[in-house]
Subunit: 251 residues, 2 copies
Amino acid sequence: MTVTAAAAPPPVAADALEAKIRAIGAERYHSLHPFHRLLHGGRCTRAQVRAWALNRYCYQAAIPRKDAAVLAGLTDRALRRAWIGRIHDHDGHGDDPGGIERWLRLTDGLGLDRDYVMSMQGALPATRMAVEHYVQYVKDHPGLGAIASCLTELFAPSLHAERISGMLEHYDFIDDSVMTYFRRRLTQAPRDCDMALAYVREHARSEESQQLVLDAVTMKTNVLWVQLDALYHAYVAPGHIPPGAYVPPEE
Amino acid sequence: MTVTAAAAPPPVAADALEAKIRAIGAERYHSLHPFHRLLHGGRCTRAQVRAWALNRYCYQAAIPRKDAAVLAGLTDRALRRAWIGRIHDHDGHGDDPGGIERWLRLTDGLGLDRDYVMSMQGALPATRMAVEHYVQYVKDHPGLGAIASCLTELFAPSLHAERISGMLEHYDFIDDSVMTYFRRRLTQAPRDCDMALAYVREHARSEESQQLVLDAVTMKTNVLWVQLDALYHAYVAPGHIPPGAYVPPEE
């Protein structure tokens, strides 16, 4: 759905901005994080995959609150009507159980207790802080900053495609039925980020607003990266699990 | 849609709380405001009806942002799935143009320029301040306070029914086609407030949380009342229209 107004955007400046956004992704997106190399290459233990899925649940569960906060900052009705579909994608709507439920099928499939996952009691403190930092950023930067912070979705489809094939190939405890979250995101994410990118290209015309956009995208890459750093430290090397966080059973 | 958990609520305390909420409505709901007596009794001029509809647009236009702010504060997925329908009711969804569009058909029917209405430039400053106060309250009181502030809908259906019959009877410039907003609200508001009331009855168990609920409902009645006071002062008596606000054409 196109939400740009009739006025033609300034293509040269918008192209330059988009190139800078994509450069941030090329340098900072969490597809580059060592933990993802391990995960997708089949070098994680089942315990590590469980810890990843359990922590990532915190992020998934927060996304509808984040998108509602984006919506609360939008005064344009057509834009709200387009954006609200993201909340349905994650919370579900009608017969669609939604992305959070699909994520819980993944954690179910990994043998994690659903109530424990949903309680978030075993999640790493750094994960929860990073996620809430993202939600708060969106509340504090209504409109352009909030929308720009979602642009990491530009980089997600290739990560998800790599994840689906890598995890199915390498792990005997992962089968196709638990990977539906990522399959669905292969089509949802491009649709969403086309809308967000069109908005940013059109509305970030001043130097100040373009810097806001770049800062928002950088912030978001940090939110994603911090989560994997914490996961690596706790569950890979040196393997210092913080007090109270999930301790995988002996395998 | 019921969103209460399986645990039985404490009926005596919940009944007492509901009675106090309804008592606030009986004393403070804007159905009691002198402006509404004039409006529904056919004693407003067309200019005054125009001023009312133009100002009330600010409130209508803010409701989806308010409901998105409520949603941003909800951690319960089932509750979010129920609440999100309010945003669709106002912004529209699929073929339904939504309540804001229906309100604009009312202002169209009154001969107001749509761009001028949507710009809100002619709205009274007090209207816009009251509306934004409501949106900010919801952001500042996630969960119980935010939900409770919506409970004035308990009192809306009788006001809307009175308005539909009164305005159709008394004004030759009002016909059925422009009153669809209120007709639709006759069924939407009871469904919405059943959900909000069930939530409040179940979750406001401590004295402190019950006081929060009563304060939220009182705040909301003030938000509504302030708008009519300002309208009365500007357009009825003494008729001091503030600088920059809508000046009706000579009739």
